[in-house]
Chain length 309, copies 4
Amino acid sequence: MTQPASNPETIRVRAGFELHFELSRPTPMLFVVEPTERPGQRILAARKRIFPDLPMSETSSYTDINGNTVWRLQAPAGRLEVSHDLLIEVSAQKDAALGHLPKTPIEALPAHTLHYLLPSRYVDSDLLAGEAWTLFGHVQGGWAQAQAVCDHLQTRLMYGAGSTSATSAREAYQSGYAVCRDFAHAGVAFCRALNLPARYVCGYLPDIAVPPDFRPMDFHAWFEVWLGGAWRTFDARHNFPRVGRVLIGTGRDASDVAFNTVFGGFEMPRMKVWADQTGLSELPPMSDGFPVTPTAEGLALSAAWGDRA
Amino acid sequence: MTQPASNPETIRVRAGFELHFELSRPTPMLFVVEPTERPGQRILAARKRIFPDLPMSETSSYTDINGNTVWRLQAPAGRLEVSHDLLIEVSAQKDAALGHLPKTPIEALPAHTLHYLLPSRYVDSDLLAGEAWTLFGHVQGGWAQAQAVCDHLQTRLMYGAGSTSATSAREAYQSGYAVCRDFAHAGVAFCRALNLPARYVCGYLPDIAVPPDFRPMDFHAWFEVWLGGAWRTFDARHNFPRVGRVLIGTGRDASDVAFNTVFGGFEMPRMKVWADQTGLSELPPMSDGFPVTPTAEGLALSAAWGDRA
Amino acid sequence: MTQPASNPETIRVRAGFELHFELSRPTPMLFVVEPTERPGQRILAARKRIFPDLPMSETSSYTDINGNTVWRLQAPAGRLEVSHDLLIEVSAQKDAALGHLPKTPIEALPAHTLHYLLPSRYVDSDLLAGEAWTLFGHVQGGWAQAQAVCDHLQTRLMYGAGSTSATSAREAYQSGYAVCRDFAHAGVAFCRALNLPARYVCGYLPDIAVPPDFRPMDFHAWFEVWLGGAWRTFDARHNFPRVGRVLIGTGRDASDVAFNTVFGGFEMPRMKVWADQTGLSELPPMSDGFPVTPTAEGLALSAAWGDRA
Amino acid sequence: MTQPASNPETIRVRAGFELHFELSRPTPMLFVVEPTERPGQRILAARKRIFPDLPMSETSSYTDINGNTVWRLQAPAGRLEVSHDLLIEVSAQKDAALGHLPKTPIEALPAHTLHYLLPSRYVDSDLLAGEAWTLFGHVQGGWAQAQAVCDHLQTRLMYGAGSTSATSAREAYQSGYAVCRDFAHAGVAFCRALNLPARYVCGYLPDIAVPPDFRPMDFHAWFEVWLGGAWRTFDARHNFPRVGRVLIGTGRDASDVAFNTVFGGFEMPRMKVWADQTGLSELPPMSDGFPVTPTAEGLALSAAWGDRA
């Protein structure tokens, strides 16, 4: 089933998750976890499993105000298992670096980007406006300004826990510690303060052409800035052009694209996330189980990128 | 991999298609073929293949004005193969028969249903208004009126080719011959003429709990009428409650939901469609090839329905 | 209250209508008559009157699938009067003539334009495809092709009644007689057949810088073609760059933008439409009544355009 | 021009604003100030004026992600005057008090209401969840719970400045001082924390059937809670059923519906807002100027309500 990609312009990524919940009572849940077809990513195969199998009336799916696909379900008390396994074709190009892109004047921004200039729950850009202009106001150019924000956050923030689900961009920034969610919030906040429309992105990021990371994989968060007539990728956490991103959803901040929202108490005894380059042309049978990232195949493919870069 | 469905309220259907095209020049194409999550249908697994593998810039996907997912691609000259294979969970209930549902007065219809009262390209309901009221004006009740339309079309129209892609509801009706597309158009036309919002539906219809049909399977068309606050299924072609429908798309008429729209000349040396009940819990490996409907498993499961009905 | 326009780049138009209906029973009605803010038109003042004054529950307004504002009301039996009076600022530029605009290849069209390539109720473009390519297939350029369609229709069709509300583009074209609705349908049909996205437009067209027309004014219909990344105005009826258009709505054809749709029998003892250039900076008091177009002021302003052109 | 309302079920309100800005440079501006047709409010007449008259390219209007109409303009340096004057027909009913409405279980909420359960910039409901359940968790019923929130805020918060445009619900709540914006934020925050979908509303509120308030009128803010299948009005500031509300826009919080957003520095030497019951059947000529609320007519009509109540 493994075969060389027929198209040198693209690579294939296997990504997905397996979550187990323990619920003490029937519980409404939302999941923003489904990557959809987008420029730069094609869903070749997808497999979704919810156990126990719920009656038709207890599950649905809808498109939210931000255009994301949301799974909605009413879980019974007890054990709930949700998994998703995907084979996705994405561009073999690294994140673009378009340093020449100018800042779009506010009056020339498309209407649909304007609300990404406003503050939101975890992006208290109004409170960072002074600092933003002091630090970055002198930087010429739109891309350059967003990049300067990322560069600054790399220096200023140390990767590490410390934040909670209630931490805002400013709070994380002031604490000096950040996880990917906080890096993204801070990046978005400074950009909005600088009148660059910016939105929060969640998705999968496989380790390709970078040293392998053996810590358990998780969903990743980065952000996008509207420049040159399109949303452009920035990742203050890594601050390095990457290949293989699989975009799940976008929103004002993490509150819009939490991978799950549980209306009630719960325990999560198992959370497994995977995202890895692969030569597979179809998903393996379920009896093979779910992979642990990085896989041997992923490591080999990642290493081989050294020759391409 | 085959296991009894854990949920007696649902069944699983494997459905899909394989199309081969011969194109003499680069050709823009649209496909409305992707069933999505909806009340009553869950996509458990999906596999999509386009050969040759096109550059990222040559394929995309969008949601059209009717809410359908459209695949768009720019095919190169030569052979193009497109296939889709799905495992879908649908309700084990037959099409509802809700004879008591009254006709919603026009003034009480939701705004989003109103344009389904207007004529459209193949639904020349304005030209059938007189006949509609003569034949069905005396029927009391909304469901009863739509059902009387279906009953009449069953008697009046003989299943058989004769129409072309340009045939309107009235033309098919007058000819006396109809394929599923024409049955649906005529049903929609009479309903609209009677002020019942009606829309055309395309999808898959497996043979479950009915005598097997050994002719090559095709996509199916039926229609929906807004009654009792929801879209309700009617199928003038079969005019008999069925189980296992997989809805792909809805629109004003066949022009909105043609399974493919090819902007240029083409030949289609191969067209295979399948839709069959299955006990599978995942899609078989691609090396097993695509099924021919009805499969032996589908026949057995269909026959077993005799005991349930 | 009359003052020179302060902005030489714009002019002001007073437009509106007064309709009286006689209804023998309570009747649902829809009106697509409300011009809204758009590029090139600003609503300075608007006044709407429905008599008798209906309870809140009997009127509403919604945005339809095409983005048009629709008034919806449940009229009681008896006399119903509906009027609308507007002061609108529009560009002082004549319809653009951009003969250099190329035809956008289908694969480069934005997704939202694609369904304007499909046939619709009164635009049976599929049946005119052969004639379209014979007549216009050799014309190079997108604008040039759409203009060639208009030039041909000017020659081929004589202005005059003959069509009904059920007449399609092809039927009108073959009859040789057309009103503005038919000119627009035929223009749209030939363009769609040529793979130019085209949509039907209804609105007001004052007589400015043209010889006055003393016949009773009516709503006008024209069409738009997607060229050079925007919808461009074509008017096969006049086939001459005009100034002062006030756009009310757009759709696939006249069925989408009928200025009124009455679900039941009715008489219309009075229908008055006006659209005229004006120097007014506000609407006159209602006690002055509604104008008859062309007004003396409109005639004078129209004549003065001779000097500008 | 003054005449008794012909419909005892409705009243007429004249509302509007006049704003003068002094801008030191060309400045992009957004205004969310336009009431549109909605259940319960009809726009009979509207007059809009922007001075100086800007070129067509410098103004536009769009519908934002929340469904609000937004005016957008690129103002030149210098003086900018913006005014809007409206005659609106609204229900003569006071805000409904539907104490029997139960809380809709989360699993039964329509999808479009779910994001009104999430925190937003000024509605830090996640931080008030503990207090919300302590204070109101025991209250049975959805309406009752929302009303208990309003009653509590009336007691707990004193009307008065103290907040800024950056003050969140929790901050205002803890300060003990609130203006209408803060009352609304706090009400929304507690409701969301209690799993009641809630949204912020801005609009006009005339003084009808209440003692006259001779302080300068301003825009007003209140909130809505989804109960019994519809958005229901709550006003923690007044906490008393009112008549005559004119709804302008809704959103997650004040950041979504700021009446103006100015991208740059400005002075506002004049801000006048009016909203008053009236017997007028059309707007007076502009030469009469704009009214100061309460007008003598408004006071008389308000007083007359004593007899109705």
